[in-house]
């Protein structure tokens, strides 16, 4: 085996070793949020992932940060990540330019159980940049639309100018087989849609939710209140799934930085069935 092939084999085996990806395309979604398409160093590097999984992105000299995958899982050839600048490492990711190199470890974790939800109704609830880890689910559902019954996408943002993937939301809303509702917390004069927190959209869904599966992603407080409202709408806790974010470092459950009660978010999550973590979600010490 020559040296290059050997190195690739080691990189494929070793989850702690970043692979050098190159930025192929940069799209500025919002002033603080950017979507990157990054391509692998060679054709034998897989870009397969499951909706809800994440990669550790390493910007040389700046740091490493867990970022969920936001692209279409059926399209190979590159990874797509949507990042909001909230700290030095994530800001460095949003400042990458076409042609730059970024280290990639992953994909890691357990994603959304799209197969469990198949055959029934599905409600997707996202808040803010929480839409990014759910976008692969929406791509998946749209591609396999016949496998799902009624599907509702509920999205909450701060203001109308903070709506992520606005063009795609409008496109999905144009479909006759998707129910898309968007609400903003603060209604400016240019916004004629719903105003109020995302939880207020749940009772507005046009079909009964009692048999639905729910996927929820957003700030933790938003998820707490959303799961409560979903329960009130009749969705059992074991049919609700949430995506957690903690201080993920190693990505494989070794370092313990992301330990959450008995769980390692990087390995056992980031997507959890709600009934298995409900107690932890309401515990202040966690």
């Amino acid at each position: 085996m020559n040296l290059v092939l050997e190195e690739r084999a080691v990189a494929a085996r070793d989850p702690m070793r970043p692979r050098p990806f190159r930025v192929r395309r940069v799209h500025r979604d919002l002033p603080d949020t950017t979507t990157l398409e990054i391509e692998p160093p060679g054709p034998d590097h897989s870009c397969a992932f499951s909706p809800g999984q994440f990669n550790m992105l390493y910007v040389m000299g700046k740091g490493e940060v867990p970022i969920s995958l936001s692209g279409d899982p059926a399209k190979g050839g590159c990874f797509v990540h949507t990042t909001r600048a909230v700290g030095p490492a994530s800001r460095a990711v949003t400042e990458l330019r076409k042609g730059d190199l970024v280290g990639v470890r992953g994909p890691f974790g357990h994603g959304w159980p799209v197969d469990v939800a198949a055959g029934g109704d599905l409600v997707i609830v996202a808040g803010g940049v929480g839409l990014a880890p759910l976008r692969p689910v929406i791509y998946h559902v749209v591609r396999r639309r016949r496998q799902y019954r009624r599907v509702a996408i509920l999205y909450g943002a701060r203001t109308s100018s903070d709506i992520l993937f606005r063009r795609e939301l409008e496109k999905w809303r144009g479909r006759l087989d998707l129910e898309v509702r968007v609400s903003v917390d603060r209604g400016t004069d240019d916004w004629h849609g719903s105003v109020g927190v995302v939880t207020t959209l749940i009772p507005q869904v046009s079909f009964p939710l009692s048999e639905a599966t729910a996927f929820v992603c957003g700030p933790e407080i938003m998820m707490r209140f959303t799961t409560r409202e979903l329960a009130q709408a009749g969705i059992r806790e074991d049919r609700q799934y949430i995506s957690m974010e903690r201080n993920m470092k190693c990505g494989v459950g070794l370092c313990g930085h992301c330990q959450w009660g008995p769980h390692f978010v990087c390995k056992d999550g980031p997507v959890f069935r709600f009934d298995r973590v409900a107690r932890l979600l309401w515990q202040r010490e966690m």
């Binding site: 917390d185 004069d189 004629h192 849609g193 105003v195 927190v197 957003g218 700030p219 407080i221």
Partner: protein, 154 residues
């Protein structure tokens, strides 16, 4: 039963009232229509009605010379709107404007107060439902105040 009566009897807010109570409540109601951009009421106006929305979208907003109209909530089909008719000084604290053509049943606030005063059982039941509504709105407002999607503070 007229269309107002039929609509109210089907509405979750009015479930559980006896047919006699419902009949009295229906007598307070009338159909109203608001064109897009029309105000249902403005801040400082006398609060005369309790609205049950049939169709459309109504935005509750507050106006500020610097920021213009800021929407704090929208109500849509099936929602109810307004409790200022219940609490002195019976004045609206916000503006409400139809974002699209909207239909509603408007129940006369003064007649509702009289009804609640003369029939304490109905009055208590009505008040409990309004309190439930207030609780929901308070929770939603608290979440809005948290500004959940803003950048986390360091």
């Amino acid at each position: 039963m007229n269309t107002v009566g039929h609509f109210l009897s089907e509405h979750p807010f009015f479930h559980g009232f006896t047919s006699e109570q419902l009949q009295e409540l229906v007598k307070c109601g009338r159909d109203v229509r608001f064109e897009q951009g029309e105000f249902l009421f403005r801040e400082g106006d006398e609060a005369r009605s309790f609205y049950v929305v049939r169709e459309g979208r109504i935005r509750i907003e507050i106006h500020d010379a610097r920021q213009g109209a800021v929407g704090v909530q929208t109500v849509e089909r099936g929602d109810v709107l307004g409790w200022s008719w219940l609490v002195p000084p019976y004045l609206w604290h916000f503006d409400a404007r139809a974002l699209r053509t909207s239909l509603a049943v408007a129940l006369d606030g003064e007649r509702l107060r009289d009804l609640c005063d003369h029939d304490p059982v109905l009055g208590y039941e009505f008040l409990k439902r309004i309190a439930g509504l207030m609780e929901q709105r308070l929770q939603a407002t608290r979440l809005q105040l948290l500004d959940l999607y803003s950048e986390p503070r360091a």
